[in-house]
Symmetry: C2
Amino acid sequence: MTSAEIHAAAARGAEPPHGPAASASAAEPVWWGWGPAFAHHPLPPGVSDLLVGLGIPVRPSRPVALADVRLPAVRLPAAARQALEAVVGEVHVRTDDETRIRHCRGRSTTDLLLLRSGDAGAAPDAVVLPADHDEVLALLRVATRERIVVVPYGGGTSVVGGLAPTATQGRPLIAVDLRRLDRLGRIDRESGTAELDAGLRGPRVEELLAPHGLTLGHVPQSWEYATVGGFAATRSSGQASGGYGRFDEMVVGLRVATPAGSWDLGRAPASAAGPDLRALVLGSEGAFGVITQVTVRVRPLPARRIHEGWWVPDFATGTRLLRDLSARDLRPTVCRLADETETIANLSGSTPTVGSASRESAAAGSVTPGPTSGSSVPGSSVPGDSIPGDSASTGVAGDKEKAGAGTGVGGCRLITGFEGSGTEVADRAAQVASILRAGGATALGPDVGLDWERGRFRAPYLRDALLDLGVFAETLETAGFWSSLPDLCTGVRRALTDTLGRAGLAPVVMCHVSHLYATGASLYFTVVCAQGDDPIGTWRAAKAAAGEAIVAAGGTITHHHAVGTEHRPWLGAEIGGLGLDVLRTVKRTLDPAGILNPGVLVP
Amino acid sequence: MTSAEIHAAAARGAEPPHGPAASASAAEPVWWGWGPAFAHHPLPPGVSDLLVGLGIPVRPSRPVALADVRLPAVRLPAAARQALEAVVGEVHVRTDDETRIRHCRGRSTTDLLLLRSGDAGAAPDAVVLPADHDEVLALLRVATRERIVVVPYGGGTSVVGGLAPTATQGRPLIAVDLRRLDRLGRIDRESGTAELDAGLRGPRVEELLAPHGLTLGHVPQSWEYATVGGFAATRSSGQASGGYGRFDEMVVGLRVATPAGSWDLGRAPASAAGPDLRALVLGSEGAFGVITQVTVRVRPLPARRIHEGWWVPDFATGTRLLRDLSARDLRPTVCRLADETETIANLSGSTPTVGSASRESAAAGSVTPGPTSGSSVPGSSVPGDSIPGDSASTGVAGDKEKAGAGTGVGGCRLITGFEGSGTEVADRAAQVASILRAGGATALGPDVGLDWERGRFRAPYLRDALLDLGVFAETLETAGFWSSLPDLCTGVRRALTDTLGRAGLAPVVMCHVSHLYATGASLYFTVVCAQGDDPIGTWRAAKAAAGEAIVAAGGTITHHHAVGTEHRPWLGAEIGGLGLDVLRTVKRTLDPAGILNPGVLVP
């Protein structure tokens, strides 16, 4: 297939752009992928070129029609259905095919491949929409009595199988969709906290807080659809974690509906009244209870935002610089360092211009380092995360990547962003700039950072476009202490490259450092390759190899994607046999009948 | 009794100053109180004056002789003793009276009153000193088999009954003293972490880290004797928590010996691999297992330290200023705001001199506000915490306090301290100074801050001197969100004043704000009053009233003293019935035979 043919196929794949040109986040997503259809665009030509250059075979592949999706018959006994309807009202117990299909599994690439092929075998028997905490409590009582499995459902954006319980034992399964829990509760201005209902999606939270001059500042890539309850249940971490903290750091209070009753936690910012049980609910992935409300720290809307792009000589140097910043507690609000491969994929789509540099970059002189810029394609978004963007230097990058070298392509791109009050932001940015410059980094100006920000939510859309071309794209992540990061990076990269390479899939493996801590950071990997004959099976093998590599290198199996069912094999290595025992026993206490997400998180 | 007679009695109480004039922290404390005898000094004359002014009756009261302490016969069966000796060696199983008495209960005022009266009824049958993690594991196996109750014992500084299990059910009881677990393990310079054995006391940690240019920065008032394991088990928070964080925030990894086996946690700074189980061990108070090693974040020894005293018009204004700083994440390393009563008690012992002011205070002009300084008493340490210091204006303060007013004495003293690298510290101090000044605070210069620092560990020594005079002194603390602090402060103050007042004990109740968070802070109360006929019973009633007031005002029952046995009545209000169920079930999993600190933390 020629590049022109790919372009044509990509364009076809993106048609038709349904719906009004409203903001993507307000609209219902396509049932088979991410975001509303109107937000889907043809694959940027640069990406098509990259695929050709890498020799990744392309075979256009569209989802089946909705009517052709196969899903099991509803197994909900009439008495059970009536009991559920008695709690939430008849209209809020849905068993139509589309609703069930839309609540089938999450949004991992495996989930999407299954859905696109018409497999909705894991669909819930019914989707139930409670109005508030008390209705959730009542639903859990009914489910306990009627032996119904419950999947707490927020945005449906799990990428780890968190919405597909494996231990249902033939029981009916309902998704309890929390979208009606959508209120902003009390704002405590004095304390800087706000009560957020669990069903609020990321954009809605900011819409509700903005009139009060406040922001939450939690912006994971799934922000458009992910919910407050999901943020809490998965220990989510957003792109601005360096400034606003991980989601669990924002939480000061939690309200949870469990089969054993209602549970409220959080009477002070910190306490010595025994173990901090909030930390036991955060990350519980719907296996202990349904989080219905979260009290979070909120902050004033930032008066100023500074973006900056930097060029560092290589990934190791860049990582060391981030370590130096973190050790001094000088973390930018946003900070991500792409490795050489990801840099080529992402950076060449934008054109750093020294003339438009910020005060800091202007002071750095007139150097425009890095690879020669590829063709700039107006209208094509450069993805914010890790899916290859436009690049003219495809062959070189691909060959190097395939050899597992991942170095020597001329340097790495670093994005920094700062948010806050005017003077404080400028001071912090200046301090960071000074350290970066002293460490060999060169400022690329604010446009590079702004480009990144504009594309920060694009990656899952781009994945849909790649799947439309029969190309596989998926991500995984870990975190470790600074001293373990080099081995962690090498080990995971090798595991992915070897496993997928052996299957003849010519993988491109990219990595970036983000989510900085004083003692370590996260590594985020993106894989793009051919699908081959068995993309799901092959990916499972690659993911398993990566999991083993993470454990061997001393990292955590997941920094912000949670355990779900997909990371369960390594949970014992992470928290020990006693840790598993503790999870099991806590679950038995809060959910004696084992109705909540059985098989998710707790083995 | 005249003031002169009190001075004489106080001087007698402090004799004899045993031992060499070495650093207090290196020496074994007196068995009946705090610190080595040579560090005990006569009560500063100003305090004696204060007692007279307040009308607090004084009746000199010395501890009984060690030989007169009553303690139960050793109940350890020979077979059990042999099994313990087989693990640690005969020399490390101690049953002599003095060792048992030294391990009896903790260091609350109630504990000391009992000990001083010769009551060591709660003494362990034996004190066992394991050498390492494996010996602790082996001891727990023996104890499980032989039905022996185990008290994990660090510095013995609990003030909440954490070392006196209540549910022993007639079983023999051993204290497992961890002082031989005293090694600095691996230092990971790249990640900025260090492995610390649980038995290391505060000063020893700093001694071991200093040659590496590092510090932990955890400095609770109990620092001289408290241990790393105790810091972790109780969620300790140090005086420098604004800069270094609470102890639980410093912890990245934990090694725990439990009856169910060995447990290691912490593979990354942060993770989404389920609930953060480190948070379940932190605060577990020896009820789930014995923490044997903690991996902590360490930092470079500070290049610079800036101290500053401030004068604010009143407690409410000062609290609001601290809120403003905290909301901007501009917390000083050390920050404590005394209320009007505590200000009179503490500040008048030092003499703020405008001429010696720092750059910041010099810039503030030549105002020396506040009450006229009392007599400066050379050689008398002004206590770092809350026990009344020298004051010339005793009558006024006392009368006001007795009326429960606690205001109108001319303002409040605020101490700020900053530690870190040179420029960063100066910048931060300047920003804080600017906000404080804009909010109506006046700089008193660095001497006030330095005075506070010099006396920061003196309070428990002073308490011993007060007990020697038959005067009661005790502290309690809470924390809440900023909006709840005024009611919390008023409620607790009233509960203490009313309960003790009804008993005719003329209490002085002081309060300070410390341990700042973005969303709230801690309140620390100090009570000084006559002992009356039943000091323990009366204090229990007052403490219970304070506990009820804390719950009613929405605060946490303890910010950094842990639950022990004394806070257990309010734990259900704090974490809910489900929270108690979770603690019980976790304990059953890790300690099936219930040998670990039964009745402590877990009801």
